[in-house]
């Protein structure tokens, strides 16, 4: 990334910094402050939408690492989110009986413990289903992840059942975080930490290895990058994010059924990162934000029109599908690199403003 006029990188630290100028720090701090104060001036419905956007963003960070950086296209992200959600749900219901458990653990698992465990479980199952990726490429891999989705969902529906599972609301220092406003802060902190994690992960040795594998996996292997290690690490981390995002969303709705994780959602997740822009950490924010806000606007428009045209509200789910399909198709034709690429162009333009050169 180029710096604005007159700012030069003179040390390695400056060269590596994500936020380089005062204005970038200003926008970062201002943005976080704005996000943190959102529940003060927005109503709880909109805060609920923000929670949806942020939890989706966490899931998408995983898919972005797996597909955008490592090039392993996965349709199974919804299934891994389901693994995370169900792990968390089952652990929260489980009360340990053994006498040798430590005293602080007697009350069973709580939210703060189950969410990381949910991520780890989803990551390990992701590694299991990532093993075929070592031999498969292209469409064959896409189909293997599709099969993984159906197999995981089958296990969940048969083993745990299709009835709704209830989850407890998280507690923090004696306060129950069960309102939109209070749970929003949990999600906000999680999304900030995980975004920082995702952004830095792709700048490390690991991330560079993933990019090499994405660009040409045979060449990467010849260069000495272990495909086994790095493809599986991409699956682990990608699915870890999915598990954490799924668990966070499940604790917000506090009731989950397998219907929330149909193949449909796996396809939508891929659509989100395409629209947002793959291979950029801001991509998931743009994708989730743009499409979720668009579908909410659609719901709003349709409910506003239902007074004029009777029966139009029955078409909401159909209209949502058509809109999503249309957006994805148009993005593929007009801007295959997603909103993140437009954002780059925009930034490059304003870096030089008002002079074009």
């Amino acid at each position: 990334m180029h710096n604005p006029c007159g700012i030069f990188n003179e040390t390695y630290e400056q060269d590596l910094a994500i936020f380089r100028t005062k204005w970038q720090w200003f926008f970062l701090v201002g943005g976080i402050a704005l996000a943190a104060s959102a529940p003060l001036f927005l109503n709880s419905y909109i805060v609920g939408i923000l929670i949806l956007i942020f939890t989706t963003t966490i899931v998408l960070h995983g898919l972005n690492i797996l597909t955008g950086y490592c090039g392993q296209i996965s349709l199974a992200q919804a299934a891994f989110a389901a693994v995370g959600a169900y792990t968390s749900a089952l652990l929260c219901q489980y009360v340990p009986q053994f006498a040798w458990f430590p005293e602080w653990f007697k009350g069973g698992f709580n939210f703060w413990l189950t969410v990381p465990i949910a991520g780890l479980t989803a990551g390990l199952i992701g590694v299991l289903f990532g093993i075929p990726a070592l031999r498969l490429r292209g469409f064959y891999l896409v189909m293997a992840t599709l099969a993984a989705h159906f197999i995981i969902l089958w296990f969940i529906t048969q083993w745990i059942g299709t009835q709704a599972r209830r989850l407890p609301a998280p507690h923090l220092a004696g306060i129950i975080l069960n309102s939109e406003e209070s749970y929003y802060y949990v999600v906000l902190v999680a999304v900030i930490i995980l975004t920082y994690f995702a952004k830095n992960l792709v700048r490390t040795r690991l991330g560079r290895a993933w990019i090499a594998i994405r660009d040409n996996d045979l060449a990467a292997e010849v260069m000495g990058i272990s495909l086994f290690r790095y493809k599986l690490s991409a699956f682990f981390i990608g699915c870890f994010f999915a598990g954490v995002g799924g668990a966070l969303w499940a604790h917000y709705t506090r009731s989950i059924t397998p219907e929330y994780y149909l193949i449909h959602y796996g396809l939508w997740y891929l659509g989100y990162i395409i629209v947002g822009g793959m291979g950029a950490t801001v991509g998931p924010f743009f994708g989730a934000g743009f499409l979720i806000i668009l579908t909410e606007l659609l719901a709003y428009v349709i409910s506003a029109l239902s007074g004029v045209f009777h029966g139009i509200e029955n078409y909401l789910s159909a209209a949502r599908e058509v809109l999503f399909g249309l957006v994805v198709v148009l993005f593929m034709i007009l801007e295959p690199r997603g909103i993140a690429h437009r954002w780059q162009i925009f930034k490059a333009y304003y870096r030089l403003f008002p002079y074009a050169h």
């Binding site: 296209i73 093993i131 099969a147 089958w154 395409i274 399909g325 198709v329 593929m332």
Partner: protein, 303 residues
């Protein structure tokens, strides 16, 4: 003899899978696009035929007319999808193509929801007589026999088309090597267009057969399109005989799994639905052993 019955039903289902899988293979072979929108095309084909038939006075002749009109509409849809959606993506990476067909899938399913809404739609029962035929001691409904005949007829027709007609051979040549085919004067864009038209037609035929066998539903029929993917992979993405043999293998094994494995699992664990998930286990295992399917081309990768 439950095993004979299971195998015969499996063959019927497998032949239907084979027809739908043929559409996938055709499009993949000629233009290296895996059409994930096949499920939506299946649903649209089945529904269009039913809708046209309901507008007509009724009877077998009018049904045949409705089928012909549906196939023409399917071909036109195929042309327009190729022209509007896939042509701009030539040269784009794999993920763009996959995402485009996923987007088309969602878009077409959305249109289906808007027109036909929820609920099950059964095909009229006066086209195929209700009744049973006894084969090898098992009675099989006429609609299954009819479906099997139609499916086998389609497979034969497309097989002959690829083997002997000029445009069939041109399609195979394009699939083999696009550049070489172009230099020999084959218009590859025309081939892509025809491949999409044929892909849509096979999907429509599959949709009509599914309408007869189990009825149509906006939610379940598109998922059936995804159930054909194990078939395609089993046979190998670029093999036409593979699609047919893969279809029969998947059809028979999933029925056998439903008949024998399902009660066993139910007894042990109380689990069900083995029949639906079995093809996915099958391809996971097969892809581990043979990453290009049973009959697919093993591409030698070069840097």
């Amino acid at each position: 003899m439950i095993i004979v019955e299971t195998i015969i039903y499996g063959l019927v289902v497998g032949a239907v899978y084979g027809v739908v899988a043929l559409g996938f293979v055709l499009i993949y072979k000629s233009s290296s696009v895996l059409n994930l929108a096949q499920g939506a095309l299946l649903m649209l084909g089945g529904f269009t035929c039913l809708q046209i038939y309901q507008w007509l006075p009724g009877g077998v002749l009018f049904f045949i007319l409705a089928v012909i009109v549906t196939l023409v509409i399917a071909a036109l849809l195929g042309f327009s999808i190729e022209r509007l959606a896939l042509r701009p993506l030539i040269g784009e990476p794999l993920i763009s193509v996959i995402m485009m067909t996923i987007g088309l899938n969602v878009l077409l399913i959305g249109i289906g929801y808007a027109i036909w809404e929820s609920g099950n739609y059964a095909y009229p029962t006066d086209i195929i007589p209700i009744g049973f035929m006894t084969i090898l001691g098992t009675s099989i409904s006429y609609k299954y026999i009819f479906s099997l005949i139609i499916a086998l007829f389609c497979l034969l027709l497309f097989g002959l088309f690829f083997q002997f007609t000029r445009s069939g051979i041109a399609m195979r040549a394009t699939a083999d090597d696009q550049l070489a085919a172009q230099s020999l004067g084959i218009s590859t864009s025309q081939i892509f267009r025809n491949a999409w038209a044929i892909g849509c037609i096979t999907a429509a035929i599959g949709g009509i057969i599914i309408g007869f066998l189990i009825g149509l539903n906006c939610y379940n029929t598109p998922v059936l399109g995804l159930r054909v993917l194990p078939v395609v992979l089993l046979g190998g993405l670029d093999s036409i005989p593979g699609a047919i043999i893969g279809g029969l293998i998947v059809g028979v094994t999933e029925n056998l799994a439903g008949a024998y494995l399902d009660p066993l699992l139910y007894q042990w664990l109380g689990w069900g639905g083995t029949r639906d998930v079995f093809p996915y286990f099958l391809i996971m295992i097969i892809l581990m052993l043979k990453p290009y399917g049973l009959f697919g081309w093993v591409r030698i990768e070069r840097i």
